[in-house]
C-alpha cells in the first residue's frame, strides 16, 4: 500500500522542503577552492554554461562562464542560486524504507535492492511484465536517459516506460516530425540576431528562458520587430512591437487567420512551396473562411492587430518563429504547432541565415532525453519502437532478440490512469514529481495509493516519493559526468564536480546494480559515463538524431556540437535544412490543413471563466529543487491568482482576497492579484507548488490525441470571493504546503 506512511506535516518536518539560505558571514572555502568546474546549469533547456566552485566535496558557489557561446556568462536567478541545492539539509544520504506511523527509516543498500528486485519479480510473475512501470525525467543526462530506456526494456522488460517530457515537448516533437520528418529546433538561436520579424507564440521567454531574451533583443537592436502572442502581458510581451492577447485555447484560429491573410495578399514564396513542400492546397483549404472578423470573434484579438501581424510577418525578408508550452499544452497542441509551421513554410523562410523556426525546449535535457531514452514510443536516435527495422537495429546494439524488445507503452498521464484502474501495480520513478506536475492531482494521489509497490530514486524526498515503499538515495546533476542536448540541438558536457555525499550513490550505479540483480547484468557493462555515451553514439547511428560523430573530446574542444553529426570528421549541424532535404519520406516539408476546433473544456454558466497556468522566473517545474532554495522562494512566495480588475470588480474580489477557484476536478484558494496585464475572461495561476497550493488540483486530464500532452493551458473555472484577506506573503508556507 502506498498511502503516506505518516502525516504530511511529519514528513515535511523530517525531509523538507527546507529553505537553504547562504550564510551571511560567508561560505568557507570559497576563496580557496579545490576546483572550479565548467559545466551547465541543472535547470531549463537553455543549458547556460556556468562554473561551479568546489571545496571539500561541496559546491560552495559559482562563477559565470563567460566564454560559453550561448549565454556568455549570463544567468537567471535560478542559475545564480542553483549551487544551494548542494550541501542541503534535505539531501537524502542513504536508502529509506517506509515505516508506517513514523515515516521512513534508514535501510542498507543490500536489503533495499533485494526488496526492490523481489517486488518487481513478484508483481511481474503474478500480473505480467507490463504491470510494473517506470517513470523518468529529462533533467537526466543523455547517458542516464539512454540507460533508463535500455534498463526499462532490457532489465525490467516492461513496455510501460514514459517520462515528464510528456508534459513538455511532445506536441512540438510530433508536429516537427509530421512537417519536417525530424524533431529538433531548425536553427540555433544566433539566427535570431538579424531576423526582421520575431514571432513568439505562447512562450513566457523572460520568465521561463530568461537568457534567451538577449538573443531576441539583439534582433530588436538591429531593427527587427517583435510579435508576442500571449493571453498575458508578460515581461517579454511588454517589449513587443505587437502583443496579441489571444483567448486561451484559440491559438490555431489565429495562425489560420494569419495564413489566410498571407494567401490573400500573396505574401508567399511560390518557388519554395512548389519545389520543397507538399499539401499547401490542404493548408489553404482549411483556412479559406478564416477572415479577420471570424478571427476576432474566436481569438478575442481585434481584427486590426491580426492584420498587422500578417503585414509584419508576410513581406519580411528574414524571420524567426518561436513557440513553447503556451500553444503546446493543449488538446490541440500538435495542431497549433502545425499551424505555426504553416506560416514558416508559406514564406519559405527556413534553412537560411536569420530565417528560423524553433520550439523552445523546456527541460534541461528535454531535447536529448526524448531522442535517446525514456519516451514510450521511441528508441535511441529518435527511432520508432513500432518500426521493425528500427527495432532490429536497436535489439542488435543491445544484444537481445527483436522479439524480446517490448513494444509501445502508455504515456505518463495514461499510465497513472492505468495504475488507478489497477492494471499497473508496481512503479519505479526517477526524476519526476507527478503529484505536483501532472493535472488532476486528486486522481494521481488516488493512483499512488493503489500501487502495491513503489520505489523512487531521488536526491530529495519529493511530494510523490513520500508515497514510496523504498527510496533509493540518488545523485544531483553535479555528481555525475555526462552530456545534455540543449534546446538548440547543441550537445554539451556536464562535468562531475563532486561525489554523492554520505551513503548516496550515483543514479547510474543504482540502475546498473538493479539491472544486474534482475539478471540482465551482461547487457550493462559500463565503467564510465563515456562508455554509455559511446554506446549511445552507435545506437543513434543512422537515426534522424545521429550522434555517431560526437565524442566527449569533440564537445569539449568546440564547446558543444550540434547534431546531426554522423561521422567523426563532421562539424555538426547548427542550422538545419540548408540543403532543402527534409527528413520526410518524400524529402519535402509538409503543410497540414489545420481546421480550428475548440478546446476540450469551454466556459459555461456554471464555469464561466478560463483558467490558464504557467510558471514564474524564480521557480522550476514542480519545485523539487527550487522550493528548497531560500531566496528563490522569497522572490515569489506563493501562487497568486492573476485577475483583471474589471473581472474582479464584477465578482466583488479585492486585492489579496482569498479567492476560491473551482473546476470540474476540485477547488483551491489563492490570493487575488489584480492586474490589467491579463485578459478579462481569463485568470492565471502558476503551478510550481504542492498540496493545497497546487493549481494542478484544478487542471484537466484532457490530452492531445496525438502527443498525449495534457491541456494545462485551458480549463473552465468558477471564482468565488471568500471575504478573507490572505495573510502577508512573508507568512506563506506555500513552498511546503501539505
Amino acid at each position: 500500500m502506498a498511502t503516506l506512511p505518516a502525516t504530511a506535516e511529519t514528513l515535511i518536518a523530517r525531509f523538507g522542503p527546507t529553505l537553504n539560505f547562504p550564510r551571511p558571514e560567508g561560505i568557507p572555502g570559497r576563496d580557496t577552492p579545490d576546483a572550479v568546474v565548467k559545466t551547465h546549469c541543472c535547470f531549463c533547456g537553455m543549458q547556460c554554461g556556468i562554473k561551479l566552485v568546489v571545496k571539500n566535496n561541496r559546491v560552495v558557489g559559482f562563477e559565470p562562464w563567460e566564454e560559453f557561446p550561448f549565454n556568455g556568462g549570463r544567468l537567471c536567478p535560478k542559475g545564480v542560486q542553483r549551487y544551494l541545492q548542494n550541501d542541503h539539509p534535505d539531501r537524502l544520504m542513504h536508502p529509506l524504507e517506509r515505516a508506517p506511523g513514523r515515516g521512513f527509516a534508514p535501510v542498507g543498500w543490500d536489503p533495499a535492492m533485494e526488496r526492490v528486485v523481489s517486488e518487481i519479480r513478484r508483481i511481474q510473475s503474478a500480473h505480467g511484465r507490463d504491470a510494473f512501470a517506470m517513470l523518468s525525467g529529462v533533467s537526466l543526462t543523455n547517458e542516464k536517459s539512454y540507460l533508463v530506456g535500455k534498463f526499462a526494456r532490457v532489465a525490467l522488460r516492461t513496455r510501460n516506460l514514459d517520462y515528464n517530457g510528456r508534459l513538455c515537448m511532445v506536441s512540438a516533437g510530433a508536429g516537427n516530425k509530421k512537417a519536417f520528418g525530424l524533431d529538433r529546433a531548425s536553427n540555433n538561436f544566433s539566427d535570431l540576431a538579424r531576423a526582421e520579424v520575431v514571432m513568439v507564440c505562447g512562450a513566457n521567454v523572460s520568465e521561463t528562458f530568461p537568457t534567451l531574451t538577449h538573443w531576441i533583443w539583439q534582433a530588436r537592436d538591429n531593427g527587427g520587430r517583435l510579435i508576442v502572442v500571449d493571453p498575458r502581458l508578460t515581461p517579454i510581451a511588454r517589449t513587443a512591437d505587437l502583443h496579441l492577447p489571444v483567448r486561451p485555447g484559440r491559438d490555431s484560429a489565429l495562425y489560420g487567420a494569419i495564413l489566410h491573410q498571407l494567401i490573400k495578399h500573396d505574401w508567399l514564396d511560390h518557388d519554395f512551396i512548389a519545389n520543397h513542400t507538399t499539401d499547401f492546397d490542404q493548408a489553404c483549404e482549411a483556412v479559406a473562411d478564416y477572415d479577420l472578423a471570424w478571427a476576432e470573434r474566436v481569438t478575442g484579438i481585434p481584427q486590426a492587430k491580426v492584420l498587422q501581424a500578417a503585414e509584419m510577418w508576410g513581406p519580411a525578408r528574414t524571420s524567426f518563429l518561436l513557440h513553447a508550452r503556451g500553444i503546446e499544452h493543449q488538446s490541440k497542441g500538435v495542431e497549433n504547432v502545425l499551424s505555426c509551421i504553416n506560416l514558416v513554410l508559406a514564406t519559405g523562410r527556413i534553412g537560411r541565415p536569420y530565417c528560423g523556426y524553433a520550439t523552445i525546449t523546456g527541460q534541461g535535457n528535454g531535447q536529448g532525453g526524448r531522442e535517446h531514452g525514456h519516451k514510450c514510443d521511441q528508441l535511441p536516435g529518435n527511432r520508432d519502437i513500432e518500426n521493425l527495422e528500427h527495432r532490429r537495429y536497436i535489439s542488435q546494439v543491445w544484444g537481445i532478440g527483436e522479439g524480446d524488445l517490448p513494444g509501445k507503452g502508455l504515456t505518463a498521464y495514461e499510465l497513472m490512469e492505468a495504475i488507478h484502474r489497477g492494471e499497473i501495480r508496481g512503479l519505479l520513478s526517477i526524476c519526476f514529481n507527478p503529484l505536483v506536475s501532472l493535472p488532476n492531482s486528486a486522481m494521481i494521489r488516488e493512483a499512488l495509493d493503489k500501487l502495491e509497490f513503489y520505489v523512487a530514486i531521488d536526491f530529495f524526498l519529493n511530494e510523490t516519493a513520500r508515497h514510496a515503499d523504498i527510496v533509493l538515495a540518488g545523485s544531483l546533476h553535479e555528481e555525475e559526468d555526462g552530456t545534455v542536448t540543449t534546446a538548440e540541438g547543441r550537445v554539451t558536457r556536464i562535468r562531475k564536480a563532486i561525489n554523492p555525499p554520505g551513503d548516496a550513490r550515483t543514479d547510474t550505479s543504482i540502475l546498473l546494480e538493479l539491472a544486474d540483480r534482475l539478471g540482465a547484468g551482461r547487457h550493462f557493462r559500463y565503467q564510465t559515463s563515456e562508455d554509455i555515451f559511446n554506446e549511445l553514439r552507435v545506437a543513434s547511428r543512422g537515426g534522424t538524431a545521429d550522434y555517431f560523430g560526437i565524442t566527449y573530446q569533440k564537445i569539449e574542444e568546440n564547446m558543444g556540437v550540434f547534431w546531426p553529426c554522423p561521422e567523426e570528421g563532421h562539424p555538426g549541424t547548427p542550422r538545419l535544412w540548408e540543403d532543402r532535404k527534409f527528413k520526410t519520406p518524400d524529402g519535402r516539408a509538409h503543410f497540414h490543413g489545420v481546421a480550428y476546433r475548440e478546446p476540450e473544456e469551454v466556459t459555461s454558466d456554471e464555469y464561466p471563466v478560463i483558467l490558464t497556468t504557467g510558471r514564474v522566473v524564480s521557480q522550476y517545474l514542480s519545485g523539487s529543487q527550487t522550493r528548497r532554495i531560500g531566496k528563490l522562494v522569497r522572490q515569489y512566495p506563493e501562487p497568486l491568482l492573476e485577475i483583471h480588475p474589471a473581472l474582479a470588480s464584477r465578482l466583488g474580489i479585492r486585492e489579496r482576497e482569498l479567492v476560491r477557484v473551482t473546476t470540474r476536478r476540485g477547488a483551491a484558494e489563492f490570493p487575488a492579484q489584480l492586474v490589467e496585464t491579463i485578459r478579462e475572461d481569463t485568470v492565471f495561476v502558476p503551478y510550481h507548488w504542492p498540496g493545497k497550493k497546487s493549481v494542478n488540483q484544478l487542471t484537466s486530464g484532457h490530452l492531445d490525441p496525438i502527443s498525449k500532452i495534457p491541456e494545462f493551458k485551458v480549463c473552465a473555472c468558477r471564482l468565488e470571493p471568500t471575504g478573507q484577506t490572505a495573510p502577508s506573503p512573508e507568512e506563506s508556507r506555500a513552498w511546503a504546503s501539505p
Binding site: P22, N71, C76, V80, D221, N222, V617, K631
Partner: protein, 190 residues
C-alpha cells in the same frame, strides 16, 4: 596588481529589465555584502505593467554622497569608482541616503552602516566585469567598451548627464537613451 580597465564602462538600459532579480542575487553572493544586494529591482506599478526598474550606483563624477558625509567615509578613487562607506568611519547618519539623487545608498540597520555598490571593486580591479552586469540575461546591465556598446545597440546613445532642476549631475555609469540623446532631464527647471 590592479588591472582596472579604464576603457570599460557600465551601461544601464532599464527598459530591457525583465524583473528576474538575477543581478540582486548575484550581487549578494559577494563576500563583502553579507548576502545583501547592492543593486535593486522593483516593479514600477505592477497593477498596470510588469515593467521593473533596476537601480545601481551611478558613480557620480562629483558624488554628493561623499560631499555630505560628515565622517569622510565615502571616497572616489582614481578610476572614478565611488566606494561604499568605510566601516571604521561611517557613523550611520544617513546624510548620504537622503542626499543621493538616485536613491542608491541604504542604511543597513542591524550593522548601523551605510552600504552601497562599489562597482564590484574586487572584480573590476582584477580586470573582470561586475557580477550584476555579467549575469544580467536581458542586457539591461552591460559592462564593456563604448565601441562594443555602439556596435551592439546602434539605435541607442549612452547618456551620463542628468538634470535635476537647476542641478546637473555627471556620472561614470551611463543610461541608454534613444539615439542622439545627450542628457536625461529628470526634473525640468521651470
Amino acid at each position: 596588481m590592479n588591472t582596472f580597465r579604464l576603457d570599460q564602462e557600465f551601461f544601464l538600459d532599464p527598459q530591457r529589465c525583465i524583473g528576474c532579480h538575477a543581478c540582486e542575487m548575484a550581487c549578494a553572493e559577494c563576500e563583502t555584502n553579507g548576502q545583501l544586494p547592492m543593486i535593486h529591482v522593483d516593479y514600477v506599478e505592477r497593477y498596470s505593467t510588469p515593467q521593473t526598474a533596476v537601480q545601481v550606483c551611478m558613480h557620480c563624477e562629483d558624488p554628493v554622497c561623499a560631499r555630505v558625509c560628515p565622517a569622510v567615509a565615502i571616497e572616489k578613487d582614481e578610476f572614478g569608482v565611488v566606494h561604499s562607506a568605510k566601516t571604521d568611519r561611517c557613523i550611520a547618519c544617513s546624510n548620504c541616503v537622503n542626499a543621493c539623487p538616485f536613491g542608491v545608498p541604504r542604511k543597513i540597520e542591524p550593522m548601523d552602516l551605510m552600504m552601497k555598490c562599489n562597482l564590484c571593486y574586487d572584480r573590476t580591479s582584477a580586470g573582470k566585469r561586475p557580477m550584476c552586469a555579467t549575469v544580467c540575461p536581458s542586457g539591461a546591465l552591460f559592462y564593456g567598451t563604448r565601441e562594443e556598446m555602439s556596435r551592439m545597440r546602434p539605435n541607442s546613445s549612452p547618456v551620463n548627464t542628468f538634470r535635476f532642476g537647476k542641478q546637473t549631475v555627471k556620472t561614470r555609469v551611463n543610461i541608454m537613451m534613444p539615439l542622439g540623446a545627450t542628457v536625461l532631464v529628470v526634473d525640468a527647471d521651470e
